[in-house]
Subunit: 339 residues, 2 copies
Amino acid sequence: MTSSVERTITVLGDGGWGTALAILLHHRGHQVALWSAFPDYAAVLKAKRENVKFLPGVCLPPGLEVTADMAVAAGAELLVAAVPTPYLRSVLQKLARSYAFGTPIVNVAKGIEVGTRLRGSEVVRDVLDSRGPVAVLSGPSHAQEVAHGLPTTVVVSSADPALAKMVQQTFMGDRFRVYTNPDVIGVELGGALKNVIAIAAGICDGLGFGSNSKAALITRGLAEIARLGVAMGAKRETFAGLTGLGDLFTTCVSPLGRNRYVGEQIGKGRKLRDVLATMEQVAEGVLTTKAVCALADQHHVDMPITRQIHQVLFEDKNALEAVAELMVRAPKSEVEELQ
Amino acid sequence: MTSSVERTITVLGDGGWGTALAILLHHRGHQVALWSAFPDYAAVLKAKRENVKFLPGVCLPPGLEVTADMAVAAGAELLVAAVPTPYLRSVLQKLARSYAFGTPIVNVAKGIEVGTRLRGSEVVRDVLDSRGPVAVLSGPSHAQEVAHGLPTTVVVSSADPALAKMVQQTFMGDRFRVYTNPDVIGVELGGALKNVIAIAAGICDGLGFGSNSKAALITRGLAEIARLGVAMGAKRETFAGLTGLGDLFTTCVSPLGRNRYVGEQIGKGRKLRDVLATMEQVAEGVLTTKAVCALADQHHVDMPITRQIHQVLFEDKNALEAVAELMVRAPKSEVEELQ
């Protein structure tokens, strides 16, 4: 299925998600370039026509351009930022030289910048254009599944409804459904914050707990995500949607999830440093945990799960002890718990 | 860990959940009898000290009484009804002869009576005592996991706060946490309605879809559960809690789930009749689907997933077609979708 309007699009970032979206947009009939920050790896992509490191087993279609030259962005009608949040700022600074003022940017990464505590779309505005056309695309969307054409539903959000509609039409397909939701803060926070809960879910897996425990964790995890989100200006309903509950679900159950994997290894007794040293991909939840604790302080929000994960990751707390502390609290009413 | 107050308790029903709760209550220091409707099977339980059919691999502790004689209920200070909803009324009618008026009953089964469309606790009142002390206990709680001491969190609800507190104290342990929630309708509906969505989730599994699809299904499933619940007088927040989101989660992911299993087999192309013929246990979601469709009609609530499942189960609709119809809808806003 091709799109009604053909566009020239540059996808920034050679990770699994950027690659899957570049392929999807190409199949929708757009003129797509996939930009890699690493000339050596761009050469590998071009030679093998496969992203062997981050999206193995999926062919890059012949018409999809691969480049390490940022100049390609100058001609784009739409930019897709698929760069892990820790590297987003430096990539945008590189982009700034080629950036045609006013070109819309969709951020698809899920994280919060440590230090500034900015959401991805805020980092985009901070670097490029303080009132520029920015959208975010988020939701339950493992790259491998999207690349293999498994049905996926996501949400696009922007302060500019026309841009949200344009992004919706650009990405929409039979097996990739795109909804709009005007709550940018909620959509973006859901995607970032769930990575912390995913680490906690992984710890449960590593400890050998079952789905009863994980269900309780996810329920309370979503409640604390929503608590912070509402304090930061998001709408509560958004967290019941695809970018809240939906994304939390898939991140916590899929064996493909990087953050869940980190937690699982820690639950089995490994140290964070050792786990990260063996991973090719970025587990955004690790740094996000720091940012979220800072935001919880700033907004005076109670986030018991995130606090425990912080202690496990950075303060050498025993994982089993952390989970036990979450479980064994004085009997109280669920209504209190969910507020 | 033993409870502060020892009670004489009869658990009605020899299924996995009744057995797991009887063992749990025994370990909490209570005097527990497990009642089976089938004298032959009660004899097997007594001889083997194991519920080989419904909770294999778990020993019945020596002090736990097993009986098929309903007279045992006459001496109980607390009754636990763990009977699948289709059989609840007939068991209660049998109980009526031994029932000491005023004895509190906790219903732990999850379903809606077809025909009357009554919730379990309403059936209890209908048969035994129209203003009697009734509570419900619900939440993400696979029997096998509870029996193996894996951490579990559930909710008790009653119109009588003192009874809810008593039930909380009776069941509460280190690895079995009990919260209270005064919203009886919401707590009870969440447990019943999620079984329908679990069948849909199983169909996704059977069709070979991934976690992106399942996440979307669960998100929209919870939205339609909450829509009906609110129309029936429940509180919306309850569906974000353990008995809504939490129970939905565990039912849709656990390989142990019977309703998910039924859906999975249908997704693989088997017929409902054939699947049910090979199952020892009751998949409550199958009959609940009928009851929920009737309730949706009665309350004029839009429930697209439940409708499609009804067509697949009882109107011979192709499973892939049903899922496709759910996926391919006109692009719209998520806000509409979640209302």
